[in-house]
């Protein structure tokens, strides 16, 4: 009896070994994926993409966990150390630095050594590089810029501005017509960071902006003061909607929808709710943020969302294959099209969906952003600095006279945070 059991066990082992050998080209085992794409459209997109990956690898058991987007930001710290998945998504640049420095993200420079990735993903390589190594792959990004009500511009006889003077002249006419130039909601602070990014990058250039956000330049420098002086011109004109400190970015949308404000400096994700609110593509349009200091090369904000392999992952081989799959041209075309994420593909060989904002944004980023591509205020600066600084920016927008106090405070924070 015992010998029969033994033999059958041995047979099973051999059988298992042959089966394993037979599917050697496919992946085996488990693949645990954690996602923060809790909004309906991104969630469906990710699930569809993962299902396709699963079809290609039938022997791989994929387990996907979608966590609420805000909760994910704090949970990632726990699950990376305690209960690591094989793949997790996150954000590029300084936002991933704490995890890279704590040794929680796997170095995936080997993937980037592959010319297939190195050449086609060159534009986002910088955002994923820390200390000369790459720590993940991007899967989507989107442009920022000025979304405006074309019908209001037409009615007032305005055209898209290209210089700071034109911008201000347009704004004055909009104000004269009894409307506000820009809607914004700064309750959650980061929207003010967008304005500062653009004003500072246009006034002082990309390199200075990065020096400032990485603590190398002072908040009390003349350059920064010049940026704030430009901003103040708009504030003193009354260009922004009143009481913006009480609104979230979504709550600021109705001002534009109702025509009380003409434009919104925002990421491309603002287009969907504007369309949902009933504005047609004839009514909304997009222009690149204007030039301020002549000769300063234009740089853009284009936040990149990323996939990473935690260092404690169990199935790193499958995880690497998954990352390769995500950045491949076809998948990139598919997940970023208008029916899915509605953003820009990171792979140069992918095609951009036929959507006027995506086409315009893609063109802007690929041909008209020679200065560089920034991630966004709170992704380029360390989290702690971003928080203090964005609070200062909001205060400045409400009480521009407090500028000196704000800048002194920010410089003191800088000395503590970047030591």
């Amino acid at each position: 009896m015992r010998s029969i059991l033994k033999t059958s066990a041995a047979a099973m082992a051999i059988l298992a070994a042959t089966l394993g050998g037979a599917s050697a080209d496919g992946l085996t085992g488990n693949l645990k994926i954690f996602l923060d794409t809790s909004n309906p459209a991104p969630r469906a997109t990710m699930e569809e993409m993962i299902a396709q990956f699963g079809e290609k690898n039938p022997d791989l058991t994929i387990e996907t966990t979608v966590i609420d987007r805000e909760a994910y930001k704090t949970q990632i710290r726990n699950f990376l150390t305690a209960n690591a998945p094989d793949v997790a998504n996150w954000y590029a640049a300084n936002r991933m630095r704490p995890y890279v420095e704590a040794g929680l993200f796997e170095d995936v420079s080997d993937l980037w050594a592959d010319p297939e990735i190195a050449e086609n993903l060159a534009s986002t390589k910088g955002a994923l590089t820390i200390d000369g190594k790459q720590w993940g792959v991007p899967y989507t990004y989107y442009q920022w810029g000025v979304y405006y009500r074309k019908d209001i511009f037409d009615e007032l006889g305005l055209s898209e501005p290209a210089t700071w003077e034109e911008e201000k002249a347009n704004c004055q006419k909009i104000l004269d017509a009894g409307k506000k130039c820009y809607t914004i909601g700064t309750k959650f602070l980061w929207t003010a960071g967008g304005w500062f990014d653009y004003l500072n990058m246009r006034t002082n250039g990309f390199d200075f902006h990065m020096d400032l956000l990485t603590g190398k330049a002072s908040w009390q420098s003349d350059e920064v003061r010049k940026t704030f002086a430009n901003w103040r011109e708009l504030i003193d004109m009354g260009a922004f909607i009143d009481n913006h400190q009480t609104y979230s970015w979504q709550e600021a949308l109705p001002f534009m929808v109702k025509g009380d404000a003409a434009a919104y400096l925002m990421g491309n994700f603002a287009v969907a709710p504007l369309r949902d609110a009933g504005l047609t593509d004839d009514q909304i349009d997009f222009y690149q943020f204007v030039e301020i200091t002549p000769g300063v090369e234009k740089a853009e904000d284009a936040p990149t969302d990323t996939f990473h392999i935690p260092s404690n992952a169990q199935n790193k081989e499958a995880a690497r294959e998954f990352l390769k799959f995500v950045v491949s041209p076809d998948v990139q075309t598919q997940i970023n099209d208008g029916k899915h994420l509605g953003q820009l593909p990171v792979n140069a060989k992918s095609s951009v969906d036929d959507d006027k904002f995506l086409i315009e944004g893609f063109e802007m980023l690929s041909t008209n952003a020679p200065g560089g591509v920034a991630q966004f205020f709170d992704r380029d600066a360390p989290a702690e600095m971003a928080k203090v600084a964005m609070e200062g920016l909001q205060e400045f927008m409400v009480k521009p006279d407090n500028l000196d106090k704000i800048l002194t405070r920010l410089d003191r924070a800088r000395e503590r945070i970047y030591k």
Binding site: E70, T74, E101, L104, T246, A383
Partner: protein, 305 residues
């Protein structure tokens, strides 16, 4: 013989001799264990953590009292501390307000139970809902508050966007459910008021305010004490309303210590665990003052009996 010795040994066994004294401790044991583990131990843990600089991921670095020195220079800390004091003071308004509503409702007319439940309603709904309702109420563009102000010819105010008004605005929202809570405490208290004393007071010519102040209120002392305790605790826990209504803004003007601690240590831009723990310690010391007072007055009362 055998029985007798068994009985004797039972009586002399240690357990039997000490049963009376041990039983209460055995019943208390689960509670004490949980209290030690979830309350006392974390207090010391926070004290300890406040001496370190730690981001929750890497190695904790011992920095001595640096976090407290940092607090000393931190404007945001003083704003939060000041707001805590404002909360403690203004929140007490819930006690007299609750008393007057209770007096008003302490009558027998048809449907009084319904009215009582309606007045109690705000305490039943979640603080988050209260916060949202008041946010809409205060909305500078669409809110009814500014419509009403406009109707009597006053200029509009953006309550939640003005750093001088924001804390008061949130406290008013908090007073709505808290008043209901105090009201229910007083309603039960009023049931226990001795009608003979009122009768006696009436014979001596006490009416209105004098009746209330000298006859009723002294008899409501236990209810007042509980109302005071829950209101103080409520004021110190004022977290959800701030989080929902302003998220600490505008530019940090409505933060209180508990919210600031959360922001520094646990929010999206935080993870300064040591600094957060230092704030927690300060908050604990403030609470300790009140807790000591409560315990002292309860002790005195017990002794007086």
């Amino acid at each position: 013989m055998a029985q007798a010795s068994a009985a004797a040994s039972r009586q002399t066994s240690w357990w039997h001799q000490n049963q009376q004294r041990l039983t209460p401790w055995l019943f208390l044991a689960p509670g004490i264990l949980f209290f030690l583990f979830y309350v006392i131990f974390p207090i010391f843990q926070s004290f300890n953590l406040s001496l370190y600089e730690w981001d929750g991921l890497g190695k904790a670095e011992f920095v001595g009292l640096y976090n407290y020195e940092e607090l000393y220079w931190d404007d945001a800390f003083y704003t939060s501390l000041k707001n805590n004091v404002i909360w403690l003071l203004l929140y007490l308004a819930a006690i007299p307000a609750g008393l007057f509503i209770a007096l008003f409702l302490n009558q027998t007319v048809t449907g009084i139970r319904l009215y009582k439940s309606l007045f109690f309603f705000p305490f039943v709904i979640s603080q988050v809902v209260v916060g949202l309702v008041f946010t809409w109420f205060y909305d500078p563009t669409f809110g009814i508050l500014n419509v009403l102000l406009g109707a009597v010819g006053l200029p509009p105010v953006n309550v939640l966007g003005d750093e001088n008004w924001v804390t008061v605005g949130i406290i008013v929202a908090g007073l709505w459910p808290q008043t209901a809570y105090c009201m229910i405490l007083y309603l039960t208290g009023l049931n226990a008021v001795d009608p003979e004393q009122i009768e006696a007071g009436r014979l001596d010519g006490a009416k209105g305010w004098r009746m209330l102040w000298y006859i009723i209120v002294p008899q409501l002392r236990p209810a007042t004490f509980i109302a005071f305790v829950v209101t103080i605790i409520g004021a110190l826990r004022s977290f959800d309303l701030i989080s929902v209504m302003t998220n600490g803004g505008p530019f940090g003007a409505s933060r209180v210590l508990s919210f600031y601690m959360f922001e520094v240590a646990l929010s999206e831009y935080g993870f300064r665990m040591g600094y957060g723990a230092a704030i927690a310690v300060v908050l604990f010391l403030i609470m300790l003052a009140f807790i000591a007072y409560f315990l002292w007055s309860m002790y005195k009362e017990e002794k007086a009996r």
